[in-house]
Symmetry: C2
Subunit: 235 residues, 2 copies
């Protein structure tokens, strides 16, 4: 653990100072950012924490989850490098966000200041708007994954999503930054079914893997065909 302040767990790493950012990020927004480092399962924020910040994953991965009264967990979103999160219409967070891999880096933007910045700088406002639109698009795409009728569909869609989001260009290797249990809670199915389905996909020669988290897509078409693909994906 190390740090224990409610809203500020995670080890502070430093301010954002890369002026060589690949994406055309708002510099003025980046200057507000403070980056912190998290270990596996360490929370970025918890249920009911005040919504004081907006966040963005810099490296590693995190899960946004809700807990049910009877102990079940549902993962609403996996957050990967570049993803913004923590947007909230009310004053308190209603999910918790935890790192899923050690050494996850998350940038934190003080909400008040960021809002003020957005008010005075249309570029920032547009940037944030775009980020929320993308968040909406991701959620909607995810809903289609979740609505898939069979286990095969859901797992295939998940693998394709991960390939798109984490994929190193060209390579067919995916490094899944989460456990089978996380995947199960993400797809709303039993962990055993996730496992069985991956085995099935391997039997169909759609994927290979030796280590559980290092998956290689051998035959993308199989994965794409199984779920019959939704006509639309985004907004």
């Amino acid at each position: 653990m190390g740090f224990s302040s409610v809203a500020c767990s995670g080890e502070l790493v430093g301010r954002f100072s890369r002026d060589s950012s690949a994406e055309a990020d708002c510099d003025s927004l980046q200057q507000l950012a403070v980056v912190a480092r998290y270990d596996t399962d360490q929370p970025v924020y918890r249920y009911n924490d005040p919504a004081q910040y907006w966040f963005r994953v810099v490296a590693g991965a995190a899960r946004k989850a809700a807990l049910s009264g009877d102990g079940r967990r549902h993962i609403v979103d996996f957050l990967l490098p570049g993803d913004f999160f923590g947007f909230c219409p009310s004053n308190g967070h209603h999910f918790c966000v935890e790192a899923t891999v050690a050494g996850t880096l998350v940038a934190r933007y003080p909400r008040r200041s960021a809002e003020q910045l957005a008010d005075s700088d249309p570029d920032v406002a547009r940037h944030i708007r775009q980020a929320t639109f993308e968040s909406i698009a991701r959620l909607q795409r995810r809903m289609l994954t979740l609505a898939g009728s069979s286990a095969l569909e859901k797992v295939s869609a998940f693998l394709l999503e991960m390939a798109d989001r984490t994929g190193v260009e060209g390579t067919r290797w995916i490094c899944l930054p989460m456990s089978r249990s996380d995947i199960a809670d993400y797809l709303a199915m039993a962990i055993e079914t996730v496992s069985r389905t991956l085995t099935e996909l391997r039997a169909r020669r759609a994927i290979t893997y030796r280590a559980a988290r290092r998956v290689q897509i051998c035959d993308r078409e199989v994965l794409e065909t199984v779920p019959m693909g939704w006509a639309g994906r985004t907004c």
Copy 2:
């Protein structure tokens, strides 16, 4: 049909001129709005339509849906009065939106102008930001509904959602603005299961109904207990 222009189906009703809006809406944004009227199943926009407008439901209801290759349909969101929709990170819509009840009224905001307005007026920008945050919250809540493990959970959560969103204060009556088939596609289950589950809930005296779409909640607790309630709901 009547009107056939791709992006502008629906019968034009007029500009927004209620200065007596209950909510503190941005007047400057409202002045951009043009309201159109739609019949049941009439599209507001279709898959791949250019994203020229943002929209907002004024009265009635609509569904945002995706179609799969094999003819299945998934409803990503029901849109009720007050809900904004059509936010899109890309240039074309990837869902279709259709009215689910006759006489649905939808306000349409030219995207270009609205974006310009947001750039010049921080109030408008903040307003839109808030609308997108709420859209995100709704989608996340919805994901929890969809992730519910049993049919009973999903249908209960759906009824509570509808009670919250359409509910006339005080009354326990819900007027469902959609067919069983729509509900099934929304909850990703078979229409027969929706029906059976409603019957089951009626047997448990949680709800009553004579007409299929006019449901009365008799025992809210039963509905709230069944799904064990997720700890968090929103962001």
